[in-house]
């Protein structure tokens, strides 16, 4: 009786092991399929590779080179496509476009990939079945006459191919035109090029114009005192920068005055500018409001400074401003 029970347990255990093995092998699967197992020499065939693995497993997909077997070449490869099934398993697939330039029968070796199961450290190898692949040549009708090999077919001309010739022709025409143009000018004894140079506006002219525009804006009269002083100092700093080669826009008032001391500027003019800069700094940074006559005095000082520092070459020009 006891021996029977033992046999029963052993049978049950083997059945369970078989079921679990079956279940596990169903979870992992590698397949390989050809869309056409028989092709004409040089034709393309699509080889679909597929692997199914359970969720959270890691699949190591093989890296194919440019040939599969010795005579079968891989023309292109798609990216590895991964999709999730409803039961949680993962499908990975790739399609290789293959061809062969040698006729014959080829056995495509089984597609194999490695899988690391979830939580496990051992690697298992999945393998598909091998496939037979045949490549045939053109059928030759030996009962008919042999014909000469056809010559190469001429491809139609593209614009890209014609472009260098077009460009060379255009360049040639331009050169011929230039030679003719220069020859004509030389014969007529005319200058070859007439450049019209726009005379640049001198710094003092620009500054005086800007002072005039500032006065017309009537900023301080409309309680926009800060704006008035910002613009006033901006104009005078711009003028100093252009006239005396001092980077006045990037210097502070004290630094500008110090730099002016190194130039040949009359001391009374320097004092005038000191008054302007100090007053402007008070307004700009200390919320000060100068008296109305000081606003116009600052402008007058700036105009005088510009008028009295006009370079000697421009002194003859008409002085404007207040």
């Amino acid at each position: 009786m006891q021996g029977k029970t033992q046999y029963l347990w052993l049978l049950l255990f083997m059945l369970m092991a078989l079921i679990s093995e079956n279940a596990s092998s169903q979870d992992y699967k590698a397949t390989m399929a050809l869309d056409s197992a028989d092709i004409l020499i040089g034709d393309h065939a699509r080889l679909s590779l597929k692997a199914v693995i359970p969720a959270k497993s890691t699949l190591l997909w093989p890296d194919f080179g440019d040939t599969l077997a010795g005579q079968i070449e891989i023309i292109s490869k798609t990216k590895i496509d991964t999709t999730h099934n409803t039961d949680g398993s993962i499908n990975c697939s790739q399609v290789l476009t293959i061809t062969s330039y040698d006729s014959g029968y080829y056995a495509l070796a089984p597609f194999s990939c490695k899988v690391v199961p979830a939580g496990g450290s051992d690697t298992m190898t999945l393998m598909s079945d091998a496939i037979l692949f045949s490549v045939r040549t053109m059928a030759v009708d030996t009962t008919k006459d042999f014909k000469d090999i056809k010559g190469p077919l001429g491809a139609p001309w593209t614009l890209r191919e014609a472009m260098p010739y077009i460009l060379y022709t255009l360049a040639g025409l331009v050169v011929i035109f230039l030679i003719w143009f220069i020859w004509r000018k030389l014969r007529k004894k005319e200058p070859i090029l007439k450049l019209s140079i726009k005379p640049s506006v001198p710094a003092h002219v620009r500054a005086l114009k800007a002072f005039k525009a500032l006065e017309e804006k009537k900023l301080w009269q409309n309680n926009r005192v800060k704006e008035y002083y910002i613009e006033l100092t901006e104009i005078v700093r711009q003028y100093i920068e252009e006239r005396f080669d001092i980077i006045a826009l990037e210097l502070t008032s004290e630094e500008i005055l110090a730099a002016m001391r190194t130039k040949e500027i009359d001391e009374s003019l320097q004092n005038m500018m000191r008054f302007v800069f100090i007053t402007a700094d008070f307004v700009k940074f200390a919320k000060a409001t100068p008296l109305p006559d000081e606003h116009s005095r600052c402008l007058t000082h700036c105009v005088s400074f510009v008028n009295l520092t006009i370079p000697e070459t421009n002194v003859g020009e008409e002085k404007t401003g207040n």
Binding site: I247, E250, T252, S253, D281, F282, F285, A286, K287, L291
Partner: protein, 332 residues
């Protein structure tokens, strides 16, 4: 001449009165320190704006004497800590020791409990000691055992670094250097100043500064410094300068873009504004002008600009970068 708005006028008068001690301190300091006007001025900026100072200069330039004299003029406690490779955080902040008399652990406070700390050769101590000091500088409190102790105010740390010797040193990481408000580079005195230094040191009695202020006066002055008026145009100027160190190409400086690894942090902007206010206060003005910003700009930014290897290979320093930025950013 000018009808200044009432608040600025009042503020100016208030600052004229409150800042009168600056001249006194300067005079007392000048009794002892010959030349080094800039260092004394920077010490005052740090003191008035509640910021710490990193001093870089070769030995023998009166760094210790300067801070010692400053402490004496203010009737404040001064401690000097020589940083060495075997220094421990407990040597700095203090530790718990067992008192046989009281039969319990009692706190023994470290030398950091003083108004003025001279952390000499800060880069000689390992990172954990540097961190302990810098944390205390930032938090203005230290924890010994399970008790947190507030540090006494005013609290000013003056750390020194020797720029010559690099062997066996632990350079301060950028994040920690950023905690110093100013990095002042001290140069040698002039020939005339040096002659005077020799004479003073060889005379029978070395001059001593007098105590003219109390720590409370400094705390009061600090509040007044924060009141110094800063116009929006100056704020824009400060942000332009700091942003130009971060994105030079946007400010017409594409030639230095590849030389800057990282630019000034927002802490740089805060400290530049604060130091400018303190400088205006020292100059006895109630408002900040661009001169103030430019005067402190190098000291605030020089340790906050990270240079690339390319810049180092071309011998470009942060000073050059700051000069280029100042010469490009338009002054309001």
């Amino acid at each position: 001449m000018l009808e200044s708005s009432v608040d600025i006028k009042e503020l100016n008068e208030k600052i004229q009165g409150e800042s009168s001690f600056v001249d006194l301190i300067t005079m007392e300091m000048n009794k002892v320190i010959v030349g080094q006007k800039q260092m004394v001025e920077r010490l005052l900026i740090g003191l008035l704006s509640n910021g710490h100072i990193l001093l870089e200069g070769v030995p023998g330039l009166a760094k210790t004497l300067a801070i010692k004299s400053l402490a004496k003029t203010i009737d404040a406690k001064f401690n000097r800590i020589q940083f060495t490779p075997d220094l421990l955080p407990a040597d700095l902040i203090g530790t718990m020791i067992y008192s046989i008399k009281q039969e319990e652990f009692v706190v023994r406070k470290g030398p950091i409990f003083a108004n003025f700390i001279l952390a000499d050769e800060i880069n000689r101590a390992p990172a954990k000691v540097q961190s302990a000091l810098l944390e205390a500088m930032q938090e203005r409190q230290v924890t010994i055992g399970d008790q947190t102790h507030k540090l006494i105010e005013p609290f000013l740390v003056l750390a020194t670094q020797n720029p010559i010797e690099q062997e066996g040193t632990y350079p301060l990481p950028e994040a920690q250097v950023d905690r110093f408000m100013l990095k002042v580079v001290i140069s040698y005195p002039t020939k005339d100043d040096e002659k005077l230094i020799i004479r003073e040191n060889l005379s029978e009695k070395f001059p001593e500064p007098n105590t003219i202020l109390k720590p409370e006066d400094i705390l009061r002055a600090r509040n007044v410094v924060r009141e110094v008026y800063m116009d929006e145009k100056i704020e824009n100027y400060i942000t332009d300068i700091v942003f130009a160190t971060r994105f030079p190409a946007q400010y017409g400086l594409p030639n230095i873009s590849h030389m800057i690894n990282f630019g000034g942090s927002p802490r740089a902007s805060i400290n530049l504004a604060l130091a400018s206010k303190a400088f205006a206060f020292i100059k006895r003005r109630g408002y900040v002008i661009p001169e103030d910003v430019r005067a402190v700009c190098h000291d605030v930014l020089r340790h906050r600009i990270g240079l690339t290897y390319e810049a180092e290979a071309e011998n470009i320093t942060s000073e050059d970068i700051i000069n280029q930025v100042l010469n490009t950013v338009e002054v309001p």
